[in-house]
Symmetry: D3
Subunit: 284 residues, 6 copies
């Protein structure tokens, strides 16, 4: 007779940090969000539903069983204390990058990308950020707060240089932040998504950090998120885009704003899990 | 310290009727529907979720903050009395058109389009109706009733002439009503949606009333409606179609059959709100 | 005054077995599934929501009112006894095919296709199976069980010869089953869906049994299923594919894994009902 | 092999009108309601879930299999035409009472009780009405309409004399209607529910029409209703009250405002079905 | 013709601060919660559903139309900054109490009670706190944070003296906090709820601040909350307890942890609205 | 920095089988059920939500931290093969009882109780079964199958003698099974629940196996179950009954038919988890 406890790590992840090139880590912070909170439950639910997927990918004809990758679980964070959280996430990020891992972070809200990218920058001097999102997240402050899910890419740009920030799928923003993005960074609107394939070559020789806000996908495909914005990518388009990154030097990634309670069908978490599987197979 | 009551008007709508070219008004009638009622809650929920959108449109590079438009709230209607309702809606429509406004009506069920279009006809002699819907709504009567959500476009055609009625996205109807529509009007099935772009030029010099039944969109993108019909437009297709209307002389519009209780993700109301934002920016 | 009991048969189905070429039958078995059960409620809910559709198809310009077809209701099966169920389904299938009917079976789980196809094979020696699914279902056994929803197409292939099995829309499987499928059958992945139109001509002169697992459609369009897999067809794509089959000699079909409890919008059952309507109009 | 179509009549109801003392009939009108519509789906869903109950009652030690009762199905009503509906319901009620049946009507909204009770009065001169509800429903008009779900008991009282109206479970009303009810009828608030047992003897020799608005039960037990009002009866209390009526001469009953879409657990419809079973066993 | 915007203030609340004895204010902070966030939407949803209640109470035979009370709307708070929030709430509380109002605060999470009670203490030296909750909330810190929804009553006790804290309905806590509560305060477990009526007289001559965490009610009656704990009060019991407070000198109150997204039936918000109506009628 | 993977064992359960008196084990079989399947997800979800409870019980003033108990995880069972499952469960049960453990089994459907009780009987000759359920489960067969969730207590009675079977909370059954139960066993209907306290003394010196079908609780409190039956216990009543068992010699227990997908509030699984906590504290 066999017994098992319900999957609490992602698919066939090991517990071997040393020998793993790719590491997964949950960062379940969600308290600066301005609309519907709940992404703190993202990482655990993504792991839970991953049992519904295969380890093998028909897209890449590769198998997770042939990879050694590590699922660290979730970082324990103090609820409601933004500064302590940001600091802990930064310290954690620094260590993982110094250890020469390729981390995939599971949010949590988008603000977590700021300390993580800042940490990556300490290791990778030629860092560029590839950002998929419905929202530009380029405000300078939000209700007087500099650190917010709505300001995260402004902070990121200040850290890495706005010319190193590439944004795709954008379909929402204030006039000011969109102007700022156009002038200072590389912002591509949802109706320009095909231009991603042009930009790919520009990124070829850089260290790329990939940040995916799940709301870049249309809420038909990913209803489980806090600020759904109609008119986005299909699941298939996002999968296709990811697969096209195989030549890039991805040094880390995050997938954020997955909020399981708003999707009883679990298709949002399943999509996130599938993207993570493809990324693990792609980057390692 | 600032206090606010939850948004009860649409985005940054003013309370200035006189100086507004565009006016919004809810018409929360939903009692002739044959399947799932509930669109009476459409207007208030569309206003409520509009807080999740920006005033600025990346599609048109225009900003609602630069517009003066007015949100009248909802017309108060006697539940269950069709005749009194139709009459009140007609009188209201007449006044708004006479005042030279461009109204955008928020349904409510589709039957409201009949008195509204009849009212528009009193002001605009060259009126054509541009109708997006999954259903033809061209029955002569429904269970003996002449005024029903299923007969609305038949009544409209009788009022404005069937040759002035253009229907798009249709994928459901009885054999009789489809025959009638083919012979008398301009009916384009869902698989002919591309022909809309051809027809655009025909409409260029007319006064156009736009009537959008949200179920023209596939229920994956707009599950919150009373008679969902699989196989429809994507959100992005509908947004694209709207943006293509910028050269038209739109003199009024409605968006109907949004039924919030059947969509816990709010993506149907968010899509409706987004379309309304684009329309306000487009027509004024 | 008229009274009616809620639709319990599919649209305008008759009770005349003798004169019906097409017969519908529910096969509400769902107990070998490995993830979310519930497809036993599929057939009754598909009938119930069919009231929301028209008998007339705008796609084919044909009307069910002009057809004589029979809805047998659901086969009564003993819960939990796989062997007895499989046997009863097989005996039933044999009779229907011997009676020269074109049956459309409503699942229930995918395992029901095995006894049904085996039954078809007794009548049709040149049988080929056209299979639409997200999953290959080609495992040899599942947790030691040879008869399972995950092994059904392996059993089918053993029965009819793997060269007579054509699979489309596949995007999930273990490495072993995908290898097996590639070597022995005809497996087309989701990103090769366009190749269906090439394969059509190969099938022209064969007796074709069509097996549709509703999860071939993306969970955005069909969330009501037990093992949703993101990245699938749209509703419109599946409808289009079905319509393209009009030249084929379809001798039977099933539509399985529709699980109504996971979709409060009913769009999954509505899609299934629409496909059934199109099939009845197509095959007869 | 046995086949069955999903239950479309209530439990083991027959199709024999002549020999049935008790008859069930659905009256799916719901368009004068002021808050959430949807009770039109009540009758069909109550029948559907009745398959989850036994024909035998442990409370009364009686078995429906030993009764001959008839389920007529639903009266077909024109959506949106209140006057025609009221008239049709009245004519139907008259016939059933004249035929010496004991009808149990399944709503639909509460307004249906008015024509039904008016019809009962034509046959039963000593009619009293026993009314269970959270709301007094005693307004004189509602937004100018005399016929509304909020005025139904005022209309009933005018028809049968307010002294023949007994209301229980009331916990909501305007000051005016409660004053009116206190002065003219017999109104018992929710905290006086025990007084029902006192009143029972007063009713012993009368012809009693029983009208149950499901919202008399607390929304914890019956969330599937349009105007839930916290602080009501438990399911067990209502069942107990019904069982205590066995000495009464109940000549007809209705159970209204069951709105299945607001209760995914089906416990509201199951409770309604259980009450109907107990009533059939009690009155015949 | 009348138009109205959807109710955005509570029932018939005025906009007259000066002449109102009772004032309502929303405090939509929810970011220190350890389980399911979402109570930020409590105040606006409570106002929205209040339209489903009457202004008149059958329990007290009193009418809100005869009261002048003010609904301030929601305090605007910076998301994610606990210290700034606590400070803003404290300053706001101080002003209201100094202005000699009886405020009723709508949460938001339970932590808001700490600055509000601290503010009350500045005006009322004889302050006692009456606390209804499933959880003791008496931890000294939570993951190193002193200010948390799980520590709120410890902070309150430190401020007002633990002997002035009365807790009822408690059925969850760590061994340490329960020990602390027993030794230092007055803690009554759910199975001792009857003792509330004894304690009433002790409180007669004090200034009483009432703090109600909606989860004191069983999740059957109030599923819309972040940390549901089975085995609680019924709605009717809580209403009854409130009504028994009519002799107390209540100087302020809050009702917290109402999280509308977890309750599609709205019965949690309706219960909260009903309690608020009874409190306004009771205290003024 | 601390990391954790989401709780996959019940509260503070250890992994030490040898030194644990109490052991928990999931038995996620659910395929003989006649209505809504889904209890296979019960055990894992009960563990997941247990994180929302405290280890300390205010009812018993005892702490799980002071207990050594073991959570074995879920028994891996072949989907759809009843005979193999029953046999595996029986073998597993035998081992646990022989090892002198007090097991608490988490269903899964009710049929699992049969092999478990049969296994208990091999160790405990004086075995009595204490059964809480809405349904008698005393049919001799169900659609020809002897092993079914609807026959489980008939099979149990045959194994242990019907005089050793005590059933409480029953409110549903066929006339035949209720007659059989009355004549042969001890059946107490829901309205006789108080008699449990009388019966307690009869059971004092026996080896008691406790079997709780969660549907004994009213669906208001436990909507997450496959065959809800209105008119049941409150959560508080069931907790109170459990606490009263402290003098009994409970040698094993199961809690079955918890089906998480039908309850988005999680209150059913939370209630189950709370009962398990109380049982662990009670029996050891």
């Amino acid at each position: 007779m066999n017994f098992k406890l319900y999957k609490s790590s992602f698919l066939c992840a090991t517990e071997d940090y040393i020998n793993s090139k790719v590491v997964l880590a949950g960062v379940p912070m969600d308290f600066t969000v301005s609309f519907k909170p709940g992404s703190r439950f993202g990482p655990s639910k993504i792991r839970e539903v991953s049992v519904g997927l295969e380890e093998y990918s028909v897209y890449q004809n590769k198998n997770l069983f042939n990879k050694v990758f590590y699922d660290m679980g979730d970082l324990e964070l103090p609820f409601g204390n933004v500064d302590r959280c940001i600091n802990m996430i930064f310290e954690f990020g620094k260590k993982v990058f110094k250890d020469d891992k390729i981390p995939i972070f599971l949010g949590g809200e988008h603000l977590i990308s700021f300390p993580l990218i800042k940490a990556a920058k300490e290791t990778y001097d030629d860092l560029v950020v590839l950002h998929f999102d419905a929202h530009a997240d380029m405000r300078d402050d939000y209700m007087g707060e500099k650190l917010s899910h709505a300001t995260v890419m402004r902070r990121v740009g200040e850290e890495i240089g706005f010319k190193n920030l590439y944004q795709f799928g954008i379909r929402s923003g204030s006039e000011e932040e969109i102007s700022f993005a156009k002038e200072n960074g590389h912002v591509f609107f949802i109706y320009e998504i095909e231009r991603f394939f042009e930009v790919l070559s520009e990124l070829q020789n850089k260290s790329v950090y990939l940040s995916i806000d799940i709301d870049v996908v249309d809420p038909a495909f990913a209803p489980g998120t806090g600020t759904p914005e109609p008119g986005g990518l299909t699941s298939m388009q996002l999968i296709d885009i990811i697969l096209k990154m195989e030549k890039l030097n991805i040094i880390g990634a995050d997938i954020v704003e997955v909020s399981p309670y708003y999707d009883i069908s679990d298709r949002t978490t399943l999509l996130a899990a599938k993207i993570i599987r493809e990324l693990v197979l792609l980057v390692d």
